[in-house]
Symmetry: C2
Subunit: 407 residues, 2 copies
């Protein structure tokens, strides 16, 4: 009767397991390692033929757009066509760079010309998008993708078209999409030991009640990040986040809790990336033990393929996989009724992941994934509720932290 036994433990966890000085030893070792880590020497990385975009101030974005139009005007004056050179964002134009631990774009570009009948519409859309972005950045405001689409429904027709061109536009200018001041809806949450200013307002995430602060879609409005946290706990879904937030887990073990509520939006990924870069503390991931949980982890780490041009501000390298790992299912005696059989789609996705660079470069990840595919069992974080609702905060996480049990 393993579950019963665990349940008792949950009700009365050993005292020493909750002593932060004991529990945090491994976290501190990991943090010290991070501090000694030298930033990748870019001169040693072979980026020839690669396109790595970097953040740009609004003025530079406006200037870049003006330059594009001057160039176009000159091209017309020379009797040539009105055209843009647009970098390709297709998979064949992408490369995973091991040293940077992210996907970057190669230098393939294609011409988008107004004189070409097949491209005339796309060129017109792109021109309109550049002009709208110019308005937005010079006014210093932010708009949503939906706003942008609605300024000219007749031209754009579908929002997917203006969205796609928006990424092309960012890529052409050579900046992340966020620098265009066009944002998608935000949905991430943060709570715990971090303070920052948002558009001038001081935000203290230790005093954000039990829900926390909505992560802003406008990352450039965040400044002055301070924190005494020893690690960031990245939680896949809001149910587990809510449990940790209500129990004020961060008061016992100084940390920052972040969730992107499943598949993370751009704002949450940028926020995490920025926190890690500025605070230099370990990021520990708490995701479901299924291929989808690992996939989400990869989005945080290596970025999605569609936005690889923007990987610099969007990705967080070196996230540690804390749990829920396939080996945890047995290590914690998870009762059978909480383990779910993997669907054929799960298995297919798992096999696919076994071929991905971000998995292959970590042997322990490969082992865990192989174990999952072998047992054909998956489990959500919520499965730990079987040992009592507070098992996660009072037993599972403290033990994981104390043992430095992440890979």
């Amino acid at each position: 009767m393993a579950p019963k036994k665990k349940q008792k433990k949950a009700a009365a966890p050993e005292a020493e397991i909750l002593d932060p000085e004991v529990v945090l030893k491994e976290v501190r070792r990991c943090r010290a390692l991070l501090a000694t880590q030298k930033p990748v020497d870019m001169s040693t990385v072979d980026l020839s033929g690669m396109r790595v975009v970097d953040a740009m101030p609004a003025d530079d974005v406006a200037y870049a757009i003006e330059a594009l139009f001057v160039a176009a005007a000159e091209s017309i004056m020379r009797g040539e066509s009105f055209k843009f050179d647009v970098p390709s964002r297709s998979a064949t134009n992408q490369r995973y760079v091991r040293e940077l631990d992210r996907i970057v774009l190669k230098h393939n570009a294609s011409e988008r010309s107004f004189a070409n009948v097949g491209q005339v519409r796309k060129t017109a859309i792109m021109t309109r998008v550049f002009s709208l972005v110019h308005e937005v950045v010079t006014k210093g405001i932010h708009v949503t993708k939906r706003d942008l689409f609605y300024t000219d429904v007749k031209l754009f027709k579908k929002q997917e078209e203006s969205d796609a061109v928006l990424d092309d536009a960012a890529c052409t200018i050579g900046c992340p999409r966020s620098c265009l001041n066009v944002v998608a809806a935000d949905k991430g949450l943060v709570v715990g030991r971090v303070q920052f200013d948002e558009d001038g307002d001081p935000i203290d995430c230790t005093r954000m009640g039990v829900t926390g602060k909505a992560i802003p879609a406008y990352i450039d409005k965040i400044s002055n990040i301070r924190s005494d946290a020893e690690f960031i706990l990245l939680v896949e879904k809001d149910a587990a986040y809510n449990r940790l937030a209500e129990d004020r887990f961060y008061n016992q073990f100084p940390c920052i809790l972040i969730t992107g509520k499943g598949q993370p939006d751009v704002a949450t990924r940028m926020f995490l990336s920025r926190l890690k870069a500025e605070l230099k503390i370990p990021v520990l991931a708490f995701v479901d033990s299924d291929p989808y949980g690992l996939k989400i982890l990869s989005v945080y780490m290596s970025g999605s393929k569609a936005m690889s041009y923007d990987a610099n501000s969007l990705t967080t390298p070196d996230i540690k996989w804390l749990g829920l790992r396939p080996s945890d299912l047995d290590a914690y005696n998870l009762p059978d009724q909480c383990r779910l059989p993997m669907t054929p789609k799960d298995i297919e996705m798992g096999k696919q992941l076994l071929k991905e660079d971000f998995v292959l470069k970590n042997k322990q990840w490969v082992k865990e994934l192989e174990r999952m595919l072998h047992t054909k069992q998956k489990a959500e974080i919520q499965a730990l509720s079987a040992f009592g609702f507070q098992f996660v905060t009072q037993v599972y996480l403290p033990r994981k932290l104390r043992q430095g049990d992440w890979i």
Copy 2:
């Protein structure tokens, strides 16, 4: 060229239109009316045969569950069956009460008996849910529906089953589901002129940056609500909310901005209901001009049918429909390309709404809806972006407010 003309106005709106003293006159008249409104005298409302549930302290919930089990034990001792009397939540057991402006449950109940082969599983599930809820309320913690499901996957099988039984359980006890301390995920946002305490933390929504505060799923952790707002602006979707929040619309016209990001979750509906009840200020709704926008408005006002037993804490009567209304499309010369043709499904839904009590009791709403169905045109709030991204905050809303243009 109406759009062009409007665009100019957006860039330089008439000064007087932005003077709060002028703009807010109609809002204040509406607010004064609210203040003189007497609460519905419940003794004059015929609620015979109706079930209206009310909030209960955690101790009472625990006690009610204990009483149910004592009753069940006694029934067994008498040699009768182990059973619960469960109120029916089906449509035939619901009634719209005009005086209360919401749906309530009639008194039909059915027996759920362990001795009945067809009901044995549901009775077992219900027993387990009662026992879990008892644990949660006595510990004073909150859990998500997903947590609850995962405590016994083998028994519950699908989350829909434990979710449905959860509503039955609340109904049987006679309290809103929120009093069981079992919550769904939260997704609403609030920003603007309101302060409150959340689990002891002071929250000032005027200083929440450009994103605002996540509305907590645990409404009972909110206390001490203060506000100098003159009205609440309820925004259907987050794109429009983001625009208003970034422009700090609430600084110019003292108000509270709330969005449920589309179909609102329970937490957002409870939060709005509580704000309106405590602050006694008008609630103005800013939704898309389509049947879905109106449907969402109805969920805020009259509740969803599945949770009608819980309407008291979930509904906000007397929400004013500010915009975007079908008549606005012509009144504001919305360019043709921003008007979308209604789909057959839209039209079907619109016709359905024309039969609903909450529409029928307001002749102006009927007129607007008929107009929509006649023109077969719909438009999202975002369509106003055609006049410039800040048209909404600088022209449209100030004019609407000044003219008292809501119904």
